[in-house]
Amino acid sequence: MQEMMEKRALELLADGTVNRVLGWSVGEFPYDMTPAVFRSAEDLKDRFVYNDFCGANLSKYLIKESKGEGKILVFLKPCDTYSFNQLIAEHRIKRENVYVIGIECYGKADLEKLKAMGLSGITGIQMKNGEYVVETVYGNKTVKASDATAERCLSCKSKKHVVFDELIGEDGDVVEDCNRFDMVEKLEAMTPDERFAFWRGELSRCIRCNACRNVCPACSCEQCVFDNPNSGVAQKAAVNSFEENMFHIIRAFHVAGRCTDCGECSRVCPQHIPLHLLNRKFIKDMNEFYGEYQAGADPDARPPLGTYTKGDREPNEGGNK
């Protein structure tokens, strides 16, 4: 995969279709790839990389990059293309300045899962035939790649690229039976007291690092309301339980109908808070109340909160147990 991507990127750079490439750059370890912009063939050959640990969604970088000089090449996984489309719908990306190569994806790996198996001192990871041979200073271990698949990929909603200029690999389908609302349903079936206890336990770990917000392609405001000293709600710390609730409820609400469920918020949370469960609740409710809607699938569709019908349900009806 990496060779094909690199080859194509070099070609597009050479023929002048693009003048920059947005991809991933090698790390210190086999798993810590950093999103990077490559400006020359040498640079690409030097540090371009793609493997199962390249989980970052690159679409948000295009808000800035698509406003630069010339066209930029970007590699997008199926889920990333939804974010890209959504940003186009919101007029945040200049489409004509981006050349999208869709790359097939069968799920990304989660380093935390490897670490949870007790693997430490990792010096190398050989990836082939659905297996990872993890080399560590404490000895090697072979693990099934599927045992290290990231949670968000286990409930992948679509392997289909909703936008691309060309594809590397196969285009997949929307996954009809993705079970992504299972945990939401489980929570809905709990009593309010249990739900309250669950969310207190999770949200109380928040350190307000803003990683969830800053990585989120839907959180693209020039200035966030929580950073605006004139908003009256500016916060810099999760001082108490109220502030934790406030930040996460409002953030989820602000992206409701725009969140494509890419799962970046939960991936980056240093405290491992399952933030996607807040967004998925909104998605599930909107699907049930206002008809199926997938943000980013169609940039011309009306988002559920941007429209209405005369017979909408009443707020007092409630949706949970």
Binding site: V184, L187, E188, P192, D193, E194, R195, F196, A197, F198, W199, R200, V225, G232, V233, V239, N240, F242, E243, N245, M246, I249, I250, A252, F253, A256, L278, K281, F282, D285, M286, F289, Y290, P304, L305, Y308, T309, K310, D312, R313, E314, P315, N316, E317, G318, G319, N320
Partner: protein
């Protein structure tokens, strides 16, 4: 020590074009509503940002009610339809977080419905009083 009856604090966001006048209507018809209800006038029910509701709870409210024009009667054509969707989602989310659903409410009350205003506020107050103090969305810093 005398036992003081618990009085919940209620914030009522009332649309200028209907419910706010409905409150006046209740007054001129000599219909009462509880003094615990603090009315905040808004130009349209859809002016109520979800943050207003959370802030009201932070500042000590035990219940928050939004009163707007009946669907179809919005002064700005469609504002209350958007209110309806937003609040449906917000209330469902609060419920999802284990926060009592009965503490929040939306009612459609026209300028002519003084009696409905009075009845709604009395009922809502009683519901919230039965729930007791807001503990799940409180901000201890704001408590005296």
């Amino acid at each position: 020590m005398p036992v003081t009856e618990y009085k919940p604090k209620i914030v009522a966001f009332c649309c200028n074009w209907c419910s706010y006048a409905g409150a006046d209507g209740a007054g001129s018809a000599r219909l009462s509503y509880p003094a615990e209800v603090k009315v905040i006038r808004v130009p349209c029910s859809c002016r109520v940002n979800p943050m207003f509701i959370l802030r009201a709870f932070q500042r000590g409210a035990d219940g928050v009610i939004i009163a707007g024009c009946h669907p179809g009667d919005c002064h700005y054509t469609s504002g209350n339809y958007f209110t309806r969707r937003r609040m449906t989602l917000l209330f469902s989310m609060l419920d999802y977080l284990g926060i009592e659903r009965e503490r929040t409410r939306v009612e459609w009350i026209s300028a002519a419905e003084g009696a409905k205003f009075s009845k709604t506020m009395n009922e809502f107050c009683a519901t919230v009083a039965a729930l007791g103090e807001n503990k799940r969305l409180e901000d201890l810093r704001c408590k005296k």
